[in-house]
């Protein structure tokens, strides 16, 4: 039996559906675009217009203030490397993409994770969707992003958000579910309602898990914005794509190292900051 016709009809009907969405709900995608650009463009403008030495100084002082000399040294070496490799502006654009994707992911992800932890029904509904999002190969995410948002920064960030959001959702829900029932009972014994228990007891106790989600969200955003350069997201990924097409191995490795430097610095800084503000410490 030949299923090729059936297979093409599945693809056709998905195409029809997306066509329908883009023609009838264009305003939705337009407003999503507006929101994302509204965050990313000022961020990128700010990061690229601040002189490099100021950013490096801020990172070094910040690292030292967080109590780790090694972090200050690492910041200095890493960022100076990016600067002298002439990758500074690209790195700052990448940073703005990562931050935008992270902010949107967390603004949606943490409340959604909270809902999942609080409601069995939402949990059952979201579980397969999260599985789907997490197992979908990142390249495939680029296709609908391009279709709905064209080529450029916005689809890159949208694809990144889809890729990076499941972990903060899962880790927020996990942290909230792991709160000792006895502590919740203590709140109930004093007559606290669900919302009070959530904000006074559960969320602070889930802090570490939520922050682990935040950290993972940033790291996954960084890896995804590089891939999203294929659809014109910009930043360091552009350098890498260009060096692939021109077979410039050296330039590609330089850009790759710059990504590694960004990743390490963002990871260390976010971890130290979350340790610093951890209410349960």
């Amino acid at each position: 039996m030949d299923f090729s016709e059936f297979a093409s009809s599945v693809a056709t009907s998905i195409d029809d559906f997306t066509n329908y969405l883009s023609t009838n709900f264009g305003f939705v995608f337009d407003s999503i675009s507006a929101v994302i650009l509204g965050i990313q463009q000022p961020l990128a403008a700010a990061l690229t217009s601040i002189p490099a030495w100021a950013v490096i100084a801020a990172a070094v002082i910040g690292g030292a203030l967080l109590g780790h000399l090694s972090l200050a040294v690492l910041s200095a070496i890493g960022l100076v490397f990016i600067l002298i490799m002439n990758l500074w502006d690209a790195a700052m654009v990448t940073l703005s993409l990562v931050l935008t994707a992270t902010i949107v992911s967390l603004v949606i992800g943490i409340p959604l994770g909270t809902l999942i932890a609080e409601s069995r029904r939402v949990n059952t509904a979201m579980e397969p969707i999260l599985d789907f999002m997490q197992t979908m190969p990142p390249f495939v995410l680029l296709v609908p992003a391009v279709f709905f948002f064209g080529v450029g920064t916005v689809p890159g960030i949208v694809a990144t958000i889809f890729f990076a959001m499941p972990l903060p959702i899962r880790l927020t829900a996990h942290g909230l579910k792991m709160v000792e029932p006895e502590v919740v009972e203590a709140g109930e014994a004093f007559g606290a309602n669900r919302l009070t228990i959530l904000f006074l007891i559960k969320l602070p106790l889930a802090f570490r898990s939520i922050m682990a989600g935040v950290n993972q969200c940033i790291m996954m955003s960084l890896s995804m914005v590089i891939i999203a350069s294929m659809i014109g997201a910009g930043g360091l990924g552009d350098e890498i794509i260009r060096s692939i097409s021109r077979l410039q191995v050296g330039r590609g490795v330089e850009a790759g190292l710059a990504v590694v430097v960004l990743a390490i610095l963002i990871d260390r800084f976010s971890k130290r900051i979350s340790q610093r503000v951890d209410p349960t410490a």
Partner: protein, 312 residues
């Protein structure tokens, strides 16, 4: 609303000690200043003043449960529910906390429902205990009842581990062979004269109030004035509900007599080594209260040995 104390303390690690204590007040919407004040008072009550701004993680287990206790007390609810509050503590701290709770209760007078798996803890703390088996109460009453007359095999096994001195009170150990001499005439003509006991004897007035002890009644004559002169106040005064355990040492050294007196001064009886031994030898003999035979000093009512045996 009830005050509740939990087995694993259930303190919030992200709040300071004082904020933990004030948690219930915060939920109830008490303004910050008032709740701080009340929480500080509660902390003082459990002996933790000065620890206000520490985090629970820097406290020992016993101290954490004191915070848990303060958090329940601060709400000033008439009923406190304690779900195995001391089970997670090591034995020495547990006993210290039990004493602490008894001390608090002596001033607070709350209704405390205390769940425990430790029969000794139940015996130490409980005024009234209920033993549950599979969700049903199999026996309830004074801890002593469970020890001395267990309702069934389960209770018998359960209370086997109870240290009997944790439940034996002075009122249950009165020596029936040591009645008091009543001074209400001018001469002493009583048992004390007929068969003077070797040890000290209690002397009461006509109203049954204790006047004092006579150390060696056999050496005295029958003149009431002479008895009054020799009245000694050198004895240990107990009430019926006093636990006997701390006074056993006194009893063994035979230094001062143990006299049981009600709060209003009414004489109840004298405790001797032999009465304690008797109670231990036959648990059943300490069940219930012993009516004390009063010895009148009127000649026609001089009790005989047979009377005393009946009373015993």
């Amino acid at each position: 609303m009830i005050g509740m104390v939990f087995q694993h303390f259930a303190l919030l690690p992200h709040m300071s000690v004082i904020d933990n204590v004030a948690l219930g007040l915060r939920i109830a919407g008490v303004p910050r200043k008032a709740r701080r004040e009340r929480a500080a008072n509660a902390l003082q009550l459990v002996g933790l003043s000065g620890w206000d701004n520490r985090k629970p993680s820097s406290l020992s287990g016993g101290m954490r449960q004191r915070v848990g206790l303060a958090r329940a007390l601060v709400m000033d609810t008439p009923i406190l529910l304690m779900d195995e509050p001391f089970s997670a503590l090591d034995p020495l701290i547990r006993e210290e906390m039990q004493q602490e709770l008894l001390r608090l209760q002596s001033t607070l007078h709350k209704t405390i429902v205390f769940v425990t798996h430790d029969p000794n803890e139940a015996a130490t703390l409980g005024d009234y205990i209920a033993i549950l088996l599979k969700g049903e109460i199999v026996q309830e009453g004074h801890p002593l009842d469970a020890v001395l007359s267990p309702a069934n095999e389960y209770v018998r096994n359960f209370v086997r581990g109870i240290n009997v001195f944790k439940v034996l009170t002075a009122g249950q150990l009165i020596d029936a062979a040591r009645p008091a001499v009543v001074l209400n005439g001018s001469t002493i003509s009583s048992l004390a004269m007929v068969r003077p006991p070797s040890g000290p004897i209690a002397v009461t007035n006509g109203g049954g109030k204790l006047l004092g002890m006579i150390e060696r009644p056999s050496e005295l004559g029958s003149s009431q004035a002479e008895w009054e002169r020799h009245l000694s106040q050198d004895f240990i005064r107990l009430t019926s509900t006093t636990l006997i355990a701390p006074f056993l040492d006194e009893l063994s050294r035979n230094s001062r007599p143990l006299v049981v007196v009600e709060d209003d001064g009414t004489f109840v009886g004298v405790i001797t080594a032999s009465s304690v031994l008797k109670a231990l030898a036959s648990n059943r003999s300490v069940v219930g209260t012993h009516p004390m035979p009063e010895i009148e000093t009127r000649p026609d009512q001089v009790p005989t040995g047979a009377d005393q045996q009946r009373a015993g």
